[in-house]
């Protein structure tokens, strides 16, 4: 088998491609905390400094998705699905001027998936070390 830690909906992929056409290579970082937090932030690649403890959850449409290391430990049992909804704002995330906002939906991995993922730890940090 094989299961992704993060995926993207068709609607979000369309927005992502629109942003990539305008801004070039992109990166997602899953935010935590208040206001516009608990949502994925989309930046031009290189804008956000990926930290040594940031976890690389995977790629969606070629765009890497990261989450803070401590937050990952609390979220690791769930699959993230990046979606998009009509919305306003969202920190410095690129999609806000389009009148939409990326949103993280989630589901719990089943035991077989979790077991497979446990044997396949994610890469960590800017150099994507195992």
């Amino acid at each position: 088998m094989g299961v992704a830690r993060v995926d993207i909906t068709a609607a979000a992929r369309t927005v992502l491609r629109e942003l990539a056409a305008e801004h070039g290579p992109l990166l997602f970082h899953q935010s935590g905390g208040c206001c516009d937090g608990s949502s994925p932030m989309c930046y031009p690649a290189g804008e956000f400094r990926v930290g040594q403890r940031d976890v690389h959850l995977g790629e969606v449409d070629g765009v890497p998705v990261y989450i803070g290391g401590q937050q990952y430990e609390l979220w690791r049992h769930t699959q993230l699905l990046i979606d998009v909804v009509p919305g306003r704002g969202g920190g410095f995330s690129l999609e806000a001027p389009l009148g939409v906002r990326f949103l993280t939906r989630s589901r719990v991995f089943d035991p077989a998936e979790q077991s497979w993922l446990d044997g396949c730890p994610p890469r960590v940090g800017p150099e994507n070390k195992r």
Binding site: G33, E47, F48, R49, P86, G89, G91, A96
Partner: protein
């Protein structure tokens, strides 16, 4: 306000609403004491969460506008930075008076722009903002430097000096009050400000700036509207600001620190929390006023639709009273009156934006998938008529355990996750098992329990037998990933001031080294 009102186009407001101060159909930026159109001539549509319908248009600013605002701020700083504390305190007091005189009008605008109930803006947001200005006007007058006698002929003088021009990025949950938390100490300390309101709630601060236009010298406060990526980023990364103050979330907080590191400037960050609200068994010893107060303390998760960084979003209830307590807590929650934010009886209004509504629903969804039990609520609330497209959520209680996502991540909605504990040590372990440390609540009739828990919880504010009180006199800020720096309290002046030391020798004698 005469000339301004003649030119004023009014915005589209829900039917039956009479605004003492009209909302304009379009807002430009406020730069150098006057409305200034955005350089690129672009605007965005600002909906009201009350109905989900467009309210007005607002400037969609870019780096050119940030530069204009910084030009105005630096020009004003030449004189404002060196004004006397008395002069500034008097101005800040007049701002407070003007706001108080127009409290109802601004409260109504805030409710329309944010979706929070009018009884909250009338009883909390606006009165607290008025008091906050007065507090900083007051403490400023009492602030003194110091003189240290190093030895008989050597004196160390310490002066407070303003930083100069500072940048402030404001959240959307208490738009004018959060702006006030940042503006009042910054202005008192003698700084000029460029402020970027949240794009979800841009209006109330514009009404405020118009209201005080004849009080505050031009350019001391400049408001640049727009999106984070287009207006917030050029402001936060500008080498022309001496400090950035930000309230928001962790990823943007990191980005702001990254920009600040390039400019070697200080930042203060308030990034949210997942605050535990702990109820010890003795609260239920009697069915008296205190127990009633504790139940209200539980229901505080619904205050401001849960859109509070310190929302008591984890309730920890001692096992021996759990069933009894929760029966009453559920009933109390179900008694919360939902409805139009404009109705003075309404206790919970609309979430501030559609994406916020969607995010809350996605969290309730993962909570259910993880096995949390919905004790009440758990869905969107669709009100009839004009409100049908507004962003409303039922106050929701989820029962589960502390490793669930709904216990570990800030939902920023009217959702509380409840679990039980056996002993004090259990309660403490659960309370501190979180990435955040902004607020906490402790409820007990035993003052030793309260004190020991309060000191051991790793959070910046522990409400003890109370919750969600925000007096200007009490320091507010985070431990752990909730950020750093404090807001409120006289100590906040230090966050906006430099310390100047003059080290003076009054001795006529040389040292003898050379």
């Amino acid at each position: 306000m005469g000339t301004a009102s003649k030119q004023r186009d009014t915005a589209t407001v829900p039917s039956g609403v009479k605004l003492p101060i009209a909302i304009r159909s379009r807002y430009e930026n406020w730069i150098g004491g006057e409305y200034t159109p955005p350089t690129r001539g672009q605007y965005f549509v600002n909906p009201t969460p009350v109905t989900g319908q467009p309210l007005c248009e607002v400037a969609r600013s870019t780096h050119e506008d940030v530069d204009k605002a910084l030009d105005a701020a630096h020009a004003a700083a030449l004189s404002w930075n060196i004004t006397s504390p008395t002069y500034r305190a008097n101005i800040i007091n007049r701002i407070a008076d003007r706001l108080e005189q127009n409290l109802e009008a601004i409260a109504l605008i805030e409710t329309l722009d944010n979706g929070k109930p009018i009884r909250e803006t009338m009883a909390a947001d606006l009165p607290l903002a008025v008091d906050h200005f007065r507090y900083f006007a007051g403490v400023l007058r009492a602030q003194e430097g110091s003189i240290g006698e190093v030895d008989h002929d050597t004196i160390a003088y310490h002066f407070h000096e303003p930083l100069g021009v500072v940048a402030q990025i404001i959240p959307w949950n208490f738009p004018l009050l959060m702006a006030t938390w940042k503006l009042a100490p910054a202005l008192a300390a003698g700084n000029c400000v460029v402020i970027k309101p949240a794009e979800q709630t841009p209006v109330s601060i514009m009404a405020f700036m118009e209201l005080i236009a004849d009080i505050l010298p031009s350019g001391v406060v400049n408001v640049v509207q727009g999106f984070g990526v287009e207006a917030g980023k050029p402001l936060a990364s500008s080498p022309r600001v001496a400090k950035v103050a930000f309230t928001g979330e962790t990823t943007t907080g990191r980005l702001i620190m990254q920009y600040a590191s390039e400019n070697l400037i200080p930042v203060t960050l308030e990034l949210g929390g997942k605050s535990p609200n702990i109820f010890f068994a003795d609260v239920a010893e009697a069915d008296d006023d205190f127990f009633d107060k504790a139940l209200e303390g539980f229901a505080m998760f619904a205050l401001n639709q849960g859109e509070v960084c310190t929302c008591p979003s984890r309730a920890l209830v001692q096992e021996s009273i759990y069933d009894r307590f929760m029966e009453r807590a559920v009933a109390r929650t179900e008694a919360i009156v939902q409805g139009s934010p404009l109705d003075p009886r309404t206790m919970i209004g609309a979430q501030a934006s559609n994406d916020q509504l969607e995010k809350i629903l996605s969290y309730i969804d993962i909570g259910k998938k993880e096995g949390a039990k919905v004790l009440t609520g758990g869905a969107r609330r669709v009100h009839p008529g004009e409100l049908k497209d507004g962003y409303y959520v039922e106050p929701t209680i989820l029962e589960g355990h502390n490793r669930m996502r709904v216990f570990q991540e800030e939902i920023f909605g009217p959702v509380v996750s409840v679990t039980k504990f056996k002993t004090h040590d259990d309660a403490l372990e659960i309370a501190n098992d979180t990435l955040y440390g902004l607020g906490a609540g402790v409820w007990s009739r035993d003052q030793n329990t309260c004190y020991r828990m309060g000191r051991a919880i790793k959070a910046g504010r522990v409400w003890t037998n109370c919750y969600h009180a925000y007096p200007a006199h009490a320091a507010f800020g985070g431990y752990k990933q909730s950020g750093f720096g404090r807001e409120n309290h006289k100590m906040m002046l230090d966050h906006y001031q430099q310390t100047k030391n003059l080290l003076v020798s009054y001795s006529p004698k040389k040292l003898g080294f050379f």
